[in-house]
Symmetry: C2
Subunit: 693 residues, 2 copies
């Protein structure tokens, strides 16, 4: 099954195509979970840092609902609890809660029933949503496609997780039959590639769905280079293993040595020691070592191999860059889907549910340019010029623009949908396992490096707001809020900073509270506080005039937070549907939050459950109600009711809150957000302090 | 020829349709000018308050270019001089310069050559512009359609102007043959119409081009009413004339009496006294009175007739409302173009280049629901709920939302394109002549009235900025600027306030200057200062929270400007292409203007020509460069040049200006713009004072 194109002549025909594509995706994803031997396996994890399988089983369905709710395309949730606990599972970073003792996971059959409800809803939306062709990224139908492509990603990553499970937990499934043939490894050789100016990035009006990182433009002059004809096979990699590659520290960089130390790895992850020899772990089978199949390694192992080979041959081997890979792609005369016939390469589940020999699929003399396994690159992922986040999924890429996530190229046997498109760009931490191997190049092309965050203007604006200078004599807002917190609280064991943005107030609150949890809806923001805590500094750019910016850097030490960092933790979360484990606070602060929620009442009506007795809730807001954040029917003020009475937010707050809270104080508090050296937002928020009855 | 639809399957087929429609429109417009007997007539006016014919002949072509330049779709003008002098000709208000002695109009053949160049360019753009289907209002092709529909309007209004010219100046043209038959007037009668809830306004994704005022929604419960079967014929109106209708002041309201006094009118404008009787002026012929054709009158005459008939019959006759008319439309089982066949009514030049008998085109028993002549309504035009201006033509409608412009309904024999669409909404001052007559109703439905400006949030925000309260201790910006003007000028005969917005600084400058001209690009803004001067007050709404606003009213008296008003005048103009007659100033002030121009250098390089010797130019700006106002290639600062040097605006100003100006002083000046009661823009503009060398 091929991904749908965004253009076409008939809306009704497009509905039909999308519906087929959606149901095929949903089916295939569920089929992947048939590999788990029994229901108990759903509650196991493939790695300590990942969620148990049941999480992923629910996650791809909740994703649709969460995006549709946030984009205000639907108003009702299907199951608020599931849509909170199955919400976040990305990457292994600090902002999601992996402490499973906090969760009581639902049963497999309940989640299956939930998935069926979601499937029914999505099918109905595909039939009913108003849209025009071509589908653009501001269309409601784009959100459906986003959900589908998100699920396609999880089809591939779940297959990796399943392959990492003990073989006893996995059963064979006919749909996922592996390749049955293998032989000796072909001798690899270097091919000459002509350099050229490479242009990457696709246009906004491209006819295939794309993730944010695919759009924009990038141009690089690539010099002539050499590239290996084949992916590195298990046979080729064997020499590295047998020559003590994993034990020779000069082949590994700092991150690689750390990986070896933590994991104790002595050979590729999917090789299994069998006396003197190795067997090979396929998805649901352990087989004799297929020497002519590509080796599955992470980026650190691939880099170590390159260093080993460089030393041995006195030439510099390295992984290809993104731009070099595009030249291979052109050289291979490849066409993008849907023109490409899927039989031409080992992808889209067309041939096998496993790798196959590295000399089986050739393209103009070079093999596996696409398909078989992904190929690690030496290029850290970044946004192209003109990069913009999509508002429905603003943290798809930006958390990976940190120079620590390397692009994987070319797709694998488990890739379908967007994953196998020419312009797709996926990146992982270098120690992660995917269906990935590598090929090597000899190249004098460089990859320059660029500081994190600079491309994210809004995050930088908030960094400057929270960590930058003061203006017009108005005190730093985060500091003022923390002072008010101290003024109005008696118990100070645990505080919640809801809508924490880049985290400054969380650190400030830690001066008076033993523990502070900072939560924001956007991972882009949460990662700033998290980085300050973990790395001891943050960097951002402050706008001078037009596009001119000055680089700023703030350290934990300068801020005097070195002793406080352990008290603070940061999490991604939706204030309207917060996970149940965020509770037992003495103080909850919601700064400039309520007029940005899709349903503020939903938050206000249950926030008391998270507060301890006598707990204090502090709301600050300028009540800037706008349809883009909150549909008018959910505004708490700023409108006239049916009788023509002016409804003000503070009055609504009193009405909504009075049963459970006592209003302690109301004050005004100014803040200033710098847009440029000469332009500022100057706002007078209203602070209301509420004590739980 | 029918207007093109916005949807379709093939972009290339749509290009072909648009090209045909464009050339047909351009041809037809030029055909209308063949009615002028010779070239000398091009330099005559039909009314003292209108431009000479040559203006209109150039205007419809320059409109295309001005909109395309302003929307940054093209970068080069075709003829900057023409595109300045032919730019504004709407309505008879104070903001355009009608003093013809200021112009030296170009020759007809030069303008014709110019039109040919424009035609060629537009044809090329229709072939080359990138667009998708359906065409939406953010498409470049929308601007082409806007130009076409604008020209369709001028086809109709030019025909009215030509009909107002002395018959000796007009010749017959075969394409414009009038109806050849007429007879006695049919006796009019009243038909019962069932009430219903009427919904007006069309959706953004409607398949026909629309002007801003057509979108949004409006709902009204219309009670049962009665309506005249026919339009009022010349025969029916004759009784009013013969019974002294024009001499009986009780039939006329204040505005009507003013019209009678000023014009000396004793009978319909297109009737010509011929002894005891009347003849009838058609487009290019004077004929025997066609008693069964509709009378052509303005709204004041139509209202007077209703009062006369009401008094005579002791029933209340009035003009139909917009909502009532929609019920007629439904009752008539009319379909919108392109379903409607043009042969069904006297419109689109299908039958005649004149009116025809009122009993010739019937629809379900009621006649001339569309076509023949427009029908005056009693409804002043306003924006529907959700009204938004189109950024390319922000003054299409808003200047008419003043309760002084009445909607005309149903289209005429000279209507084509958007003019004959179901959802089109055109309004004129009540004393204006169009191809318009009327029918009457007996109705208990009211039309409520609403204050001017309230629907225009941006204009209101600027009114509050210029005439409202001060905040954070920052002095009113218009007052501060006027003080600086006084500080730095010696000669104070004439000042120009360029980018005058709602005009406050122009009045303030009049305290020190003998004459002040305020110019703004947007008529929406210019009309505020103009209204303050003419009517002695302005009203606007100040946002409290969300949609809640407070009504504010400021008078000339309160401001202490009563003695100054005569010194101030307001004009619409484009700072990058100002008309030549704006010159000989001692002082030019451009406040917060240069970073909003599409090509600021164009302005700066020629502004010296408008200054007297020793004249002072004062620029204030926060240098908030943004692509939406100024394409990056035209920014004066806020970017890095090719060598990586940071380019700041002040340095560029010095470079651009140094040859012709001496820099006298640079200061910072704050201003605060209120968005809501709690949210403000707080800006520090840089003021630079330049003396002409």
């Amino acid at each position: 099954m091929y991904p749908v194109t965004l253009d076409g002549k008939s809306v009704s025909a497009k509905r039909k195509e999308i519906k087929e594509y959606f149901n095929n995706t949903f089916d295939l994803f569920e089929k992947v979970f048939e590999l788990l031997r029994d229901e108990s396996v759903f509650y196991k994890k493939s790695e300590p840092t990942r969620h148990p399988m049941i999480f992923y089983f629910g996650h791809t369905a909740t994703f649709f609902i969460n995006k549709l709710v946030n984009m205000k395309i639907i108003k009702e949730r299907v199951n608020a609890e599931y849509e909170s606990v199955f919400a976040v599972g990305v990457d292994e970073m600090g902002w999601d809660d992996m402490d499973e003792s906090n969760y009581r996971w639902p049963s497999v059959s309940d989640v299956r029933a939930y998935r069926n409800s979601v499937r029914e809803l999505i099918n109905r939306l595909i039939t009913e949503l108003d849209f025009t062709l071509p589908i653009r990224d501001d269309s409601a139908m784009w959100i459906i496609l986003m959900g589908i492509e998100h699920e396609r990603i999880h089809i591939e990553t779940s297959l990796v997780l399943h392959r990492q499970m003990p073989i006893a937990d996995i059963k064979e499934v006919t749909a996922f039959n592996i390749c049955e043939h293998s032989g000796t490894a072909p001798k690899n050789e270097m091919l000459e590639m002509k350099g050229a100016t490479v242009k990457l990035g696709k246009e906004k009006n491209h006819h295939l769905y794309g993730w944010d990182n695919e759009y924009g433009s990038y141009s690089e002059l690539v010099k002539d280079f050499q590239v290996s004809k084949y992916l590195v096979s298990n046979g080729e990699f064997m020499e590295f293993v047998q020559n003590g590659g994993y034990e020779t520290s000069e082949y590994w960089d700092e991150e690689g040595l750390e990986f070896l130390k933590r994991s104790g790895t002595k050979h590729p992850h999917f090789w299994q020691k069998d006396g003197e020899n190795f067997k090979y772990r396929a998805l649901s089978k352990v087989i004799e070592m297929p020497l002519d199949w590509p080796v599955d390694v992470n980026a650190l192992e691939a880099e170590a191999f390159c260093r080993y080979k460089s030393k041995k041959e006195k030439k510099e081997y390295k992984l290809p860059s993104e731009a070099e890979f595009r030249l291979l792609y052109e050289y291979a005369n490849l066409e993008d889907v849907p023109q490409l016939h899927e039989s031409r390469a080992n992808l889209n589940f067309y041939h096998y549910a496993s790798s196959c020999p590295v000399n089986e699929f050739g393209f103009n003399g070079i093999y596996d340019v696409i398909g078989n396994v992904w190929q690690w690159s030496r290029t850290p992922i970044r946004g192209f010029k003109g990069f913009e986040v999509h508002e429905a999924y603003d943290d798809f890429s930006t958390p990976t623009f940190d120079d620590k996530h390397a692009l994987i190229l070319g797709s694998s046997w488990a890739s379908s949908g967007n994953l196998m498109m020419k312009h797709s760009r996926y990146a992982f931490r270098k120690h992660f396992f995917q269906n990935a191997g590598f090929r090597y190049v000899i190249s004098s092309n460089n990859s320059e490096s660029k500081d994190i965050y600079e491309s994210d203007a809004l995050v930088s604006q908030y960094c400057e707001f929270q960590y930058g200078d003061t203006h017009f004599g108005v005190e730093n807002f985060a500091l003022s809020c923390a002072k008010l917190a101290e003024k109005y609280t008696l118990n100070r064991t645990k505080a919640l900073d809801l809508g924490c943005a880049t985290g400054r107030a969380s650190f400030e609150l830690a001066k008076s509270f033993d523990a502070v949890e900072g939560i924001d809806f956007s991972v882009r923001f949460v990662q700033v506080g998290s980085k300050l805590k973990e790395d001891g500094y943050i960097a951002f750019s402050d706008v001078i005039e037009g596009e001119l910016t000055q680089h700023k850097r703030v350290t934990l030490q300068e801020l005097g937070y070195e002793e406080l960092a352990d008290r603070v933790s940061f999490w991604q979360g939706d204030a309207c549907n917060l996970k149940p484990n965020f509770k037992s606070y003495d103080f909850i602060m919601a700064t400039n939050l309520i007029d940005r929620l899709y349903n503020p009442k939903l938050f206000l009506e249950s926030v008391d459950e998270r507060l301890n007795e006598d707990g204090i809730l502090m709301l600050t807001s300028p009540y800037t109600w706008q349809e883009s954040s909150t549909k008018k029917e959910f505004w708490l003020g700023g409108y006239e009711d049916e009788d023509g009475n002016a409804i003000r937010t503070l009055d609504s707050l009193k009405r909504v809150m009075s049963e459970k809270f006592e209003l302690v104080a109301v004050e005004d508090l100014e803040f200033v957000i710098k847009e440029t050296q000469r332009k500022y937002q100057h706002t007078v928020s209203q602070v209301s302090i509420w004590r739980k009855r």
